[in-house]
């Protein structure tokens, strides 16, 4: 009963226990320090877990010592160790980042509640990632979603539209979760088990309408959660009106975790023997991924609100991830996983830069960015590097993603997809360029709503933001780090799915 044996459960149990304790703390700084501390502890546990997994291979942990398939199992392999590392890492950066921004945007009386909800949201996301039990995924998904609804609604202090955004997200998210749980029910009816590994074993050779229906429900349910292209309508408003810190955290983690769940279900539970799996790849993920890439990017070009622009860009980037998946090859899956990781880094950095601007200018409209380079140069450069990464300029992580994706597209024979990837990157150039032009070339407003003080964001925000920006460059140069891990994870997933590696 030493701590090391219990390691896999720590990333979930620590924030879960520490979250309600936040409520006991006095208002002000204490909840902030407490939340930051717990995010760091969680991150440390995740790093440790990741090291363990990459050295020794898959870890299986029985919750309460009940052996699966009866009990709930936590199963960590490289794919979810990577996502765990990502979620907790982003949390460990965003939490310390948040103090000033939260002080501005959240009522101080609500600050313990705010940090409590953030911690619970993190718990949910980590739980979804680590669990090896299909129903457990639903429970954790709802834990994170419910706290997300509350967090988004807290943006109402600045803009009341946050309330309707949160309500719409609640309706869509609940429909998604319920579809997902119907799918799980059908699978349970067909197999009599909820353990993922067990489901995988028992589904081999089975092919009937019930499993097909279950698969379809799960695909639609998760599709809603991850804002797959035509089901993304909740996302732009939710990201726009949520408090800046919440947006930075969610944009970098929530949809990524949903993509991971999709990967887990496609590759670890179902396998390629099912005709409908390849049909879903060819007729659902591929066209929807491509459509998302283009339509959402085009919409982003015309947004006057930088946060909303970045939100649409997120929908487009999810298109890339789905596209990578849809090739159903090791290269495609690798590209998808790499992009999950890289996109979190770039969107995290970009939304943090927006949070800095909101702190000083009080708005995330593009007009507030006018002449930003003369007023807040450090933030401007962080935004620019994040933007370049989004476009896919060499030496940034965005380039690595696009490289893997192009490689996968050509080797899978989808040469037209390769050209479309490049073409949609050019659209990204348009919308990032639009903000860059405003920031670099315009004169800052002298009077009116958007007057900027000549003062950059406080160091407590700049340092975490630049950590993420530095990660954007570091992982853009050291491509072997993410590439190797993603390749190994993808190979393991493909072996499990029985596809030709």
């Amino acid at each position: 009963m030493n701590l090391i044996a219990q390691l896999p459960v720590l990333p979930v149990i620590m924030p879960l226990v520490m979250a309600p304790l936040t409520l006991l703390l006095p208002k002000g700084r204490a909840p902030y320090f407490w939340a930051t501390l717990s995010s760091w502890l969680t991150f440390a546990a995740c790093i440790w877990l990741f090291m363990d997994v990459s050295a020794k291979g898959e870890i299986s942990y029985f919750l309460g010592d009940w052996a699966p398939p009866l009990g709930i199992e936590y199963r960590v392999d490289l794919a979810n160790a990577l996502v765990l590392l990502l979620v907790s890492g982003i949390a460990a950066v965003v939490f310390p980042f948040g103090y000033q921004s939260v002080k501005l945007e959240i009522d101080e009386r609500q600050s313990p509640l705010f940090y409590c909800a953030m911690l619970i949201c993190m718990t949910g996301l980590l739980g979804v990632t680590i669990t090896g039990d299909a129903f457990n995924v639903f429970v954790f998904l709802e834990i994170s979603s419910l706290s997300t609804y509350a967090l988004i609604a807290m943006g109402a202090r600045r803009d009341r539209r946050a309330l309707t955004a949160a309500f719409n997200y609640l309706v869509m998210g609940t429909i998604g979760a319920t579809f997902f749980v119907i799918g799980i029910g059908l699978l349970y009816q067909a197999t009599g088990t909820l353990n993922m590994a067990d489901l995988h074993d028992r589904l081999i050779g089975e092919d009937n309408r019930m499993i097909e229906a279950g698969f379809a429900f799960i695909l639609v349910g998760i599709g809603l959660k991850l804002a797959m292209f035509p089901m993304h309508l909740w996302l732009p408003n939710a990201y726009t009106y949520a408090p800046s810190v919440v947006t930075a955290f969610l944009a970098a983690t929530a949809t990524k975790v949903a993509v991971y769940v999709l990967i887990r279900f496609f590759f670890s539970i179902f396998n390629f023997d099912f005709a409908f799996i390849s049909a879903a790849f060819t007729y659902v993920l591929l066209p929807l991924g491509l459509a998302g890439m283009f339509i959402a990017s085009l919409v982003a070009v015309f947004q006057d609100d930088v946060k909303r622009m970045l939100a649409y860009s997120s929908v487009a980037q999810i298109g890339y991830m789905l596209l990578g998946l849809s090739f159903a090859t090791v290269e495609g899956l690798t590209a998808s996983l790499v992009h999950v990781f890289n996109h979190a880094l770039m969107k995290g950095a970009l939304f943090m830069a927006v949070a800095c601007v909101v702190l000083r200018a009080g708005s995330h409209s593009i007009h507030a960015f006018a002449g930003l380079s003369k007023r807040m140069p450090v933030t401007t450069w962080a935004f620019l590097i994040g933007g370049l990464s989004l476009i896919g300029v060499p030496l940034t992580v965005g380039f690595v993603s696009k490289w893997f994706l192009l490689d996968a597209a050509f080797s899978a024979g989808y040469w037209y997809a390769g050209f479309l990837i490049v073409a949609s990157s050019l659209i990204a150039l348009l919308y990032v360029g639009r903000v860059a032009e405003v920031m670099l070339l315009r004169e800052p407003a002298e009077e009116g709503k958007y007057v900027l003080p000549k003062q950059d964001a406080p160091l407590s925000m700049l340092i975490p933001m630049w950590i993420l920006v530095a990660a954007n460059i570091y992982f853009g140069v050291r491509t072997d780090l993410t590439g190797d891990i993603a390749t190994r994870a993808a190979e393991a997933l493909m072996r499990m799915a029985g596809g030709a590696p």
Partner: protein, 304 residues
Amino acid sequence: MEAAIEFILDRYNYWIVIILMMTGLYIVFARGNLVKKVVGLNLFQTSVFIFYITIGKIAGGTAPIYRGDEVGHGGDHGDGDHVNGDHGGGHHGEGGDESEGHGSEQNGDHGEGAGGAHSAADPSAGQDAEGLHAKVDNTALDHSNDLKEALRNVDPAPAHGGESLHVLPEADADKIANNVLATDLKTPPANGFDVGDADGVAAEGADNTVDGAIDGAVDAALQGAGEIIIYTNPLPHVLILTAIVVGVATTAVGLALAVRIREAYGTIEEDELEAADDIAEFGHLPGAPSQASAPPPASSGAPA
């Protein structure tokens, strides 16, 4: 025609599920009132609860609530009433062989929940995990003093698939078999012990001396093994309890948001909310239908 009617009537609970589900979804999409939307969402979720309960139902089964008064009956069913003929006599001797290969054969039965008959044996043999998957025999639970302990003994490593749970560790099996046989049957010890059930429909007694846990299948019960209680599958019930909690939480958050929206906008009608937002953003309604119907926008949502 008759077959069609029968097809529909036999599955009436599924029709209820589908109708409720569609009603709920329709309300969510068609109604502009936020509270009605939440109610629609609730209906939609309720249909899923019914669906899960349907999954767990076993014909003739009772609620999966443990009844203490059944203690002690287990021993009586040993080899008596409903043991398969071919298994009944010889299975002490061939125990070692029998304990293999059960898991895979049982797999097929979980789906309907009505199949999978299982037997568990004795305190330490109560680890018949599959029994809990399909239905838990109370005697099995009762006699396994520490199910968890037993589960742990069952070689946790190969956790895939059900097989591992059906096979006792060699050492334990020996001990049990030896005890049993030495004290009661005076036959040569066997090196294995039957925990599973090959047939999946017929129940099989594990051993009459071990206060054996016997899990009766439906037809076994009909044969007159009255003491055996058939339970519906408890797992979907547990799952749906969780889902109900989630549903209540969602409803609560949804209604709380509706209250806050009403505080900030003065209305909870979706079209009026949109109109208020448009007026706040552009100063007028796009296309301006009836300006009067839109309430004056409240001050930008300061918390109460």
